[in-house]
Amino acid sequence: MAEIRVMREDLLPPKEPPKRHLISIGDLEREDVERLLGAARSFERSLERELKKLPTLRGKTVVNVFYESSTRTSSSFELAAKRLSADTMSIKSTGSSADKGESLKDTALTLGAYDPDVIVIRHPQIGAPQLVARYTGAHIVNAGDGKHQHPTQALLDLYTIKEELGRIEGLHVAIVGDVLHSRVARSNIQALTLMGARVTLVGPPPLIPRGIETMGCEVSYDIDAIKAADIVYVLRMQRERMQEGANYVPSLREYTARWGVTPARLRPGQKVMHPGPMNRGVEIDPVVADAADALIEQQVRSGLVVRMAVLYDLLTHGPAGVQSAALHEIGVA
């Protein structure tokens, strides 16, 4: 009986390169981050012009799927796509078929039928972006999946730090608060250490996940540890964590007394960041939030240009050199 032989690899038709996605900061190398921050800078300059809209992504379709509430992230992704002349469509879980019990797989197949170029997804469950990637041909951007990752937040934070302090390498960043439940913290630990910053996590022991030091950061339970940092990054303290049965900390009052970021706990010149939305008077003192050293508004502004850079980068193939040439062509480099 004749055996069926597998053809030699080089005789087979070339395989399509895998689609590029932005699901985790772990997907990126240092040079990818540098390229993205560079593109964001170019877009920031383009926004200073009178005509803010660029023709770059004309004819492309960006679908925003938000299964969780969001103000900053959803609005900045939508505006970023529009500034690049892409067609956009937004879907929220309330009022959609998800309300009627449709599975994420079926929603992905439905959206995939429109051949979108990019799907931006926020979902309360870890792994939702991978699942959508499996069932559509679109580039996937993770806009937050459960407690896992929020990579564009970390990129906009890096951009803000770079613009304000001129560098990231060698800086010391203290991340304060509820690390356990924070996708922002996870993406930022990866992003900051990738770029050569030192990261110290500060918070109550039940809210610092066991084993997190293996990500390359230090841990302290003492709020005084923030004094040594160049940047104090304050995480949102979610009220539901104090509810009955959770008991991560005894009370918000005690949390604020022990770990709240107040003027007295900072030293002059320390920069303060917060991903929003803030609980003024809980994790951050209002005086700190409104002080000149707070970069919180800059973070929101960075969100737009960084998300423009991410959409642009995913939809422009080829090595970095080709991309910067393309940026020249459209007059933003």
Partner: protein, 433 residues
């Protein structure tokens, strides 16, 4: 205690196989003759007596496997598995007997439900199936089932598998009362206030991925408690699907102190660690979860030295649409009946972590003894319970090849070595590749 479809007892001569029976101390190339389902003669150049001859040159013939822990999803979720499909999967995996857990819909907590299952098994099971009954009514952990009546109706043992028996007082009563049934308790050890919402092992990987952790101590604390109660009551006990190093250590200490406790471990806990969860593939989600490298090492060592005497597949079929969801939304459990031997041969025997004869013993006589069943043996006069293995053949695990109605295997796409060529269960050829 075991029930299967009645069929013709086969006449066979298996020629020139390497016969390995660790219990009999056999490891030699010889022929085995089976007359009407019973092993009649061992030796070289046996007469075929007009029996069917199976040429087994280069293959291994061993006592068929016993799986002490499967989920057949019947009654209630026949879309996921039935007694017919689950037992066919078992036959394809080399098993001559399997024990099914009672966490069905409804729960097997009455003689009526148990009776209907044994009747179905007598009509459609490809290999003998035993059924465990629940320890508590509806597995709610508050009232004991009528254990004596259930034992009389043929319950193989008692378990609330899938759920821990939370109240220590009730656990003690169950142990005391199990003495009158002559059957042992099989415990799913999990302290629910520690494992609450947990998706995976608590450690560096869960910290990085953001999953709620299910710490090792959630298991080992309950293992320690159950062993202490078993010691106090002087009753035997079987510990289901151990996953943590501390649990193996506790079991070893209890055995040294004379407690009649046995333990089992699954192929996935022996082959994988929590690093696999980085893929976010829901076919790596099970309870207890995959743990750290040091836990895996302790499980392999426990299996090697006999502290853990049984391999259990914990075959847990799930409907495709229930697993094709984000990891956090997926149910716990993976299939395993059809892949247990090749997985363990590939991941433990080939790399030199475990001897072949040890694996064969822990998949056959070990689990049989843990539940007081007759151990399959290759000896004259014994019923033919045999598995013929091709250790050199490898194959890519493909869902189209599964007999199980569900395809949620952690091995999909992986190439494994060691194939089952034939299974003889209770004297009948139940599977041939």
């Amino acid at each position: 205690m075991l029930h299967a479809r009645q069929g013709k007892q086969d006449d066979l001569v298996v020629r020139s196989a390497r016969v390995i029976d660790p219990g009999e101390g056999t490891d030699a190339v010889m022929d085995v003759r089976i007359d009407a389902g019973v092993i009649a003669q061992l030796g070289t150049n046996l007469e075929s007596n007009e029996h069917r001859v199976v040429e087994a040159d280069g293959l291994v013939l061993a006592p068929a496997f016993v799986d002490p822990h499967v989920h057949l999803r019947t009654p209630g979720r026949e879309d996921e598995e039935t007694i017919a499909t689950g037992s066919a999967a078992a036959a394809a995996g080399g098993y001559c007997a399997i024990l099914a857990m009672p966490n069905t819909e409804p729960v097997v907590d009455s003689a009526a439900v148990l009776g209907s299952l044994t009747e179905t098994a007598q009509a459609e099971a490809e290999v003998p199936v035993g059924f465990l009954a629940a320890i508590t009514r509806n597995q709610e952990g508050s009232e004991l089932t009528e254990m004596a009546e259930l034992a009389d109706a043929g319950a193989a043992a008692f378990s609330d598998d899938g759920r821990p028996l939370v109240a220590p007082g009730l656990m003690r009563r169950a142990l005391q009362y199990s003495a009158v049934t002559g059957r042992r308790l099989a415990l799913h050890c999990e302290e629910p206030t520690l494992s609450k919402n947990g998706q995976m092992h608590e450690g560096a990987v869960s910290a990085e991925l953001g999953f709620a952790g299910y710490p090792s101590v959630a298991e080992s604390l309950m293992v320690e408690r159950d062993l202490a109660l078993a010691a106090y009551e002087g009753q035997p006990l079987h510990l289901l699907h151990l996953s943590a190093r501390e649990s193996v250590e506790a079991l070893s200490r209890a055995q040294a102190a004379g407690v009649a406790a046995t333990g089992e471990v699954t192929p996935h806990h022996l082959c994988l660690t929590d690093e696999a969860i980085r893929s976010l593939d829901s076919n790596f989600k099970m309870n207890p979860p995959l743990r750290a490298a040091e836990d895996r090492a302790a499980l392999v060592e426990g299996l090697r030295d006999g502290t853990i005497s049984a391999v259990a597949s914990d075959h847990a079929p799930h409907a495709r649409h229930e697993k094709e969801v984000p990891f956090e939304a997926a149910p716990f459990g993976v299939t395993g009946l059809e892949t247990a031997f090749p997985a363990l041969y590939t991941h433990l025997v080939e790399p030199g972590l475990l001897k072949l004869e040890t694996l064969l013993e822990r998949m056959s006589a070990g689990p049989a003894r843990a539940y007081g069943l007759d151990a399959p043996a290759i000896a004259v006069g014994a019923p033919a319970n045999l598995v013929l293995l091709d250790l050199k053949a490898s194959r890519r695990v493909d869902e189209a090849d599964f007999r199980s109605r569900s395809k949620n295997s952690w091995l999909l796409g992986e190439t494994v070595k060691g194939q089952v060529r034939m299974t003889v269960a209770a004297g009948r050829v139940a599977f041939e590749a």
